[in-house]
Symmetry: C2
Subunit: 426 residues, 2 copies
Amino acid sequence: MKIGLLGCGNVGSAFVKLLIDNGDSIKEKIGENLEIAKVLVRDTKRERDPWIDRSLLTTDAQSLVTDPDIDIVVEVIGDVQPSKELIETSLRNGKSVVTANKALLAEHYFEIEELAEEVGRDVFFEAAVAGGIPLIRSLRVSLVGERLSRVTGIVNGTTNYILTRMHEDSLAFDEALAMAQKLGYAEADPRADLEGYDAAAKAAILSSIAFGMKVRFQDVLCEGITNVSAHDVEFARRHGFVIKLIAECARLDFEGEQRLSVRVFPALLPATHPLSSVRDAFNAIFVEGEAVGELMFYGRGAGGLPTASAVMGDVIDAAQNLHFGSTERRLRRSEVNVVPVEALESNFYIALEVADQPGVLAQVATVFGECGVSIASMEQSGLGEEARLVFLTHPAKERAMISTIDVLSQLEPVREIHRYLRVIEG
Amino acid sequence: MKIGLLGCGNVGSAFVKLLIDNGDSIKEKIGENLEIAKVLVRDTKRERDPWIDRSLLTTDAQSLVTDPDIDIVVEVIGDVQPSKELIETSLRNGKSVVTANKALLAEHYFEIEELAEEVGRDVFFEAAVAGGIPLIRSLRVSLVGERLSRVTGIVNGTTNYILTRMHEDSLAFDEALAMAQKLGYAEADPRADLEGYDAAAKAAILSSIAFGMKVRFQDVLCEGITNVSAHDVEFARRHGFVIKLIAECARLDFEGEQRLSVRVFPALLPATHPLSSVRDAFNAIFVEGEAVGELMFYGRGAGGLPTASAVMGDVIDAAQNLHFGSTERRLRRSEVNVVPVEALESNFYIALEVADQPGVLAQVATVFGECGVSIASMEQSGLGEEARLVFLTHPAKERAMISTIDVLSQLEPVREIHRYLRVIEG
């Protein structure tokens, strides 16, 4: 079986290394020889890892994806274009495709999947969500008969690393970000991670597969971690919580109809929650199903080698299907129907700064009550002229919380309202 | 697709329920209708769960496994015989087989697998190890290109429940066992669980798949938890450890050769180890690979519904393969070569009772030194006439530990030597 590799960055180069190191043992196990035929790069002159055979490098994408000798195309470029076109041309030329491209899949998954079915080839993408963790195949195959109710995950290593440093080393957000950048966990332009877009793309893919509905990036409600302060983290720690960036995909009954809620947001998790102990750049996904109960998958969500390992599993699966003339069967999917966020309910955490003068607390508390939000606990700390008020609420609708903030922001003594955070229960 | 069900106990009945509840959504997703055609039982008159269609019940095993209308046979009887023969007849009659029978697989996996390949059908057994956790397919497919170094698991819920109660409620072994029996976590005759045989069967299956070698039940070194005392648990807790029954499958370099060590034993794990937080009847499997790094799978390892969920995933996979005329490809396996246990190295915990008289400690410590075992820490507590000595050692060969105990048992002041436990490092 001949492989055409699109891209030779971190993941591409690790994939080549893995095939060199394990090719013989793979051949022994599956009885099939895997061989890299061509490697698409932007610049053939650039320095490469020593195990890259420079004679395979090419800048001619079209000749690779149309090469009749190539059986499987591995796409690890990462941008939406030109990857989409190259994958489509590969499929039309009878190749199976393995991709790690979450941004592409979160936008165009269903078109690509339909094309693959039409031409009778596979598109696999285990590496697109949670790196080396065998999650996609578990959801697609092992759990396909299961009625899942909820998938909750930590799927972005960069933000988890930053939040871990804030929790464990009491760093401010900026300090933790600088540390993540120094260690290569965060990119020079870290917005896609910090604003939750990377996690949102993964949430779209995950929920499509878990719930058999067509969920796209734009269906995901997305909040990042840039507003999480050292104060928030310190409060959480003192009260037995951990703040994590959560991707949550849930099936809910809404006005008698089954709908989905797919969201990415920073949340307070009880320290006893299985996801709370997921530290640094690790990923974990907590799956709840009616029959299977609770499952958790844990591992490295990024990095060249773990991601290349997931790509390798897909390549072998695709190779075996080509050998048999079979394909992974496409699952039928209905259009997604999302619950309006205002109707969702949870406990909330909210911090505000107010002028430290008599009667303010009563004034603020009255607003919560009038908007229908019941306060579970409250803490006040002095800041000189001002005071910081922190509230934990009982379950309330987002709608009620939004009006509470609206009204509070019009009160004269309220100086600043920090964005509220949701609290996930054990 | 028509299914013949062998056995209608806890798992069998849950499987029927699952198919009734989710059959429509499965059909929607995979485009295939799954239907139960016959159910083999010992007694057609016995009372059954209300969802069991009594007109499908039969006591005639042969007519089920040779029925030309049946496509897939699901075996959930559990004993080695008659299951082995029924599975073989099913395969010879062109049916694919899904089984949850770990005892059978740990003895006859390779014969059955060969027969399945010969007749071009599938044998799937996700439910045989760790219940509803999608572990087997992850190892067989997703991680097949990975060079795994170690698989460490908590794969027996009964013993994990007992050890959890001993740790958290300070119960004695007998009290915790009685509680497990009362709650249905332990059987009336609990030996297969307590002596580690159940975990050993699973370790044989796991290591066969993880390392591509033919590992059978008799290749697994097996120690149970019946000798773990409340004293041991209390010591472990005080020193930041948790005692767990561990199934450990490792690839080791032994005298320049790649060999396996497959063992089941109670061990002291640091409280920070990912497996330490696995409580009650939950299972978890920690997998270490060269490229993928550390992975963990966590979930319910037993119970009717979680096990039936794993069976369902396999049935759907088998149905899709039949539809395409393909099968899961058999992995080639070499004969197993096991490391002699005496040559294995670890840290040890050992407790002994000695006469409380001058000079005993020096005498005991001298034995450790002479046998080449270096003591890391020691604790003495008075018991009236006697004293209890507890040692934690530095890494030592099992061989050295065995001679230490041999010599100690001949010392006059030594009253009792409790079996030593291994210590697994973070």
